[in-house]
């Protein structure tokens, strides 16, 4: 019986020829991500237990992002704890304010993600890095403390399910629409505890940015990880972004690997999707919800705050005025710079948007665009749970940057294709 790419990566991480789903393993960790909300508690735990050490100061990547720049005194205290610890241990890759960004956009961009590796971080969207043929998964603070101190972590080897993406995306349809369609079909626990392996011809045409949007939301289907195989697109991105260590191992699933299930999607038939409140599985085609009035549009986050996303939004917003509050949040400083260089900021300014500093911010109801009772937000983020972006009686509608931008212009849920076709 063959092995899946996920099983191969985990087997390597435990120094074995083979692992099987359900097997409990102690895996060697290649990269530990540290962020501001969940790492400070890990630091305190390690200090309290008298094991204040790091397994490798070059394999820990630190960036404040959730509440940075500090939104209030308490979050400033969290940042202070993170900062003191990172400096004390001479963490090599510590991205301070000015270079800090939304972690899951920052780490690949700064060349910290390599195929075949095991990456963990105390943020549920750590599954994003699977787009690079790596095993990556979100963990809690105690796990993070253990990983920081020992470079090892326990895992149950996940069974895999195969998500086959056939066909190709139509105009105005993006990878966000694909993943919303996938979650709408399989549900928020459709991949519970499992590795979601995305395969199929539709991926070929997708950039790494677009692929990251897909693996980013594996957790919204309950997945332990999301993973996409290596190809020329992966290689080109890595050639452009890897810095110090440029070698890596490419694994691929055997043709006789075992899967718990397979779900096929005809991407040519997928329409722009909107996930209605209050679950990410609430996706419906835009035709079924267009016209619903919104109060705010939010374009950013680890799901859709990358340069490609900003370009799509700018294309639609160019020469138009937004009808509702619209926030653009470039995910990292270099995305911010690139957006300026490409003239996108001018377009956003002219159309009446505000541009915020790189932060997770309002995606999780932190700051920079929090919603009042009864308000509705069309958002390019990943969750629309009750109270996710603010008041428990507010509502979040998840969609692609194109749909968010078109909805910003109309002040209600809108089909972006009409703007793209008029070029």
């Amino acid at each position: 019986m063959g092995m899946t790419i996920t099983e191969k990566i985990l087997a390597k991480a435990v120094g074995k020829e083979k692992v099987v789903p359900g097997e409990l393993v102690d895996a060697k960790i290649d990269v530990v991500l540290c962020v501001d909300v969940t790492t400070p508690p890990a630091i305190s735990m390690l200090e309290e237990k008298g094991i204040d050490k790091v397994f490798d100061k070059e394999k820990i990547v630190v960036t404040p992002d959730h509440f940075q720049p500090a939104k209030d005194i308490k979050s400033a205290e969290l940042h202070k704890r993170l900062d003191g610890w990172a400096k004390r241990h001479n963490i090599k890759y510590y991205y301070k304010l000015g270079r800090a960004g939304v972690c899951h956009a920052l780490l690949p961009e700064q060349g910290h993600i390599r195929p075949g590796e095991v990456i963990v971080g105390p943020d549920s969207h750590t599954c994003t890095y699977g787009a690079f043929a790596a095993f990556s998964t979100g963990i809690g603070s105690t796990d993070a403390a253990a990983a920081i101190a020992t470079g090892q972590l326990w895992f149950k080897v996940p069974a895999s399910i195969k998500i086959v993406l056939n066909g190709s995306l139509g105009p105005g349809v993006y990878s966000k629409d694909v993943i919303l369609a996938v979650i709408a079909r399989i549900g928020t626990d459709g991949a519970l505890y499992k590795a979601m392996e995305f395969v199929g011809p539709a991926l070929k045409d997708m950039s790494m940015e677009a692929r990251m949007t897909i693996t980013n939301m594996a957790i919204e289907a309950g997945g332990k990880s999301g993973i996409i195989g290596f190809d020329d697109v992966t290689k080109q991105y890595l050639d452009e972004h890897l810095k110090d260590e440029t070698d890596y191992i490419v694994y691929e699933s055997d043709s006789d690997a075992q899967y718990d299930a397979a779900e096929e999607f005809d991407c040519s038939a997928i329409e722009p999707m909107v996930a209605l409140p209050h679950l990410p599985s609430g996706g419906v085609p835009i035709g079924e919800c267009a016209g619903k009035e919104m109060d705010q549009a939010y374009i950013g986050s680890c799901t859709n705050g990358r340069i490609e996303d900003l370009r799509i939004a700018a294309k639609i917003l160019k020469g138009k005025q937004v009808a509702i509050r619209t926030l653009i949040v470039p995910a990292t400083p270099s995305i911010w710079k690139q957006a300026i260089d490409e003239g996108l900021f001018d377009i956003f300014y002219e159309s009446g948007c505000v541009i915020a500093a790189p932060t997770c911010g309002a995606c999780l109801g932190g700051f920079m665009g929090v919603l009042a009772a009864g308000e509705k937000c069309i958002s390019t983020t990943n969750r629309n749970f009750v109270g996710r972006m603010g008041h428990p009686e507010s509502e979040v509608y998840l969609a692609s940057p194109a749909t968010a931008a078109a909805s910003a212009v109309e002040g209600k849920l809108a089909d972006a294709r009409r703007y793209l076709n008029n070029e």
């Binding site: 094991i51 959730h66 939104k71 969290l78 105390p122 519970l192 999780l364 428990p392």
Partner: protein
């Protein structure tokens, strides 16, 4: 006397258990004062030490925030009984030495306010009010080892010093 707080809901997520607006602190007592706030505003007023939460599928889905486990534990809840748990919440509970129970039938057999008693070793939830016993599969051995050591860090420390 342990009372059951029953929520006939699937997908009770971490944003409902502890909203992100409170994540600017990791003070567990403060977190506990907002436990389940966006699901049941009154929960913190009615919960007593040793009570249990009973819910449907996919409990704790969403964020990796361990704050969700801390809020529940510091609210002095004895355990959460759910049809299934989201994986990071499940990990976080074990890593904190907090025993959680997976049971396919508890939600149907326990009503809000029922008095329950749990025999962890035997894998038995006794609903005293309805006079029924509900069996459950105890956690796997590796999880019990971590829980018996008092959590993952204690487990690791013990293992490396043994």
């Amino acid at each position: 006397m342990a009372k059951a707080h029953v929520y006939k809901r699937d997908h009770i997520n971490t944003d409902e258990i502890i909203p992100a607006r409170y994540l600017n602190t990791d003070d567990q007592i403060e977190l506990a004062s907002h436990c389940l706030e966006d699901l049941d505003k009154d929960f913190v007023n009615k919960v007593n030490e040793g009570d249990v939460i009973v819910a449907g599928e996919d409990f704790g889905c969403g964020s990796s925030r361990e704050h969700a486990v801390w809020a529940i534990r510091e609210a002095k809840v004895q355990t959460v009984i759910a049809k299934s748990f989201a994986r990071i919440f499940y990990r976080n509970a074990i890593n904190n030495g907090f025993y959680i129970i997976e049971s396919p039938d508890a939600l149907e057999k326990i009503n809000d306010g029922d008095e329950v008693e749990i025999d962890y070793k035997a894998g038995l939830i006794k609903n005293k009010t309805a006079s029924i016993d509900i069996s459950f599969n105890p956690l796997p051995d590796f999880a019990l080892e971590i829980i018996n050591d008092g959590g993952l860090l204690e487990h690791i420390t013990k293992r490396t010093t043994d």
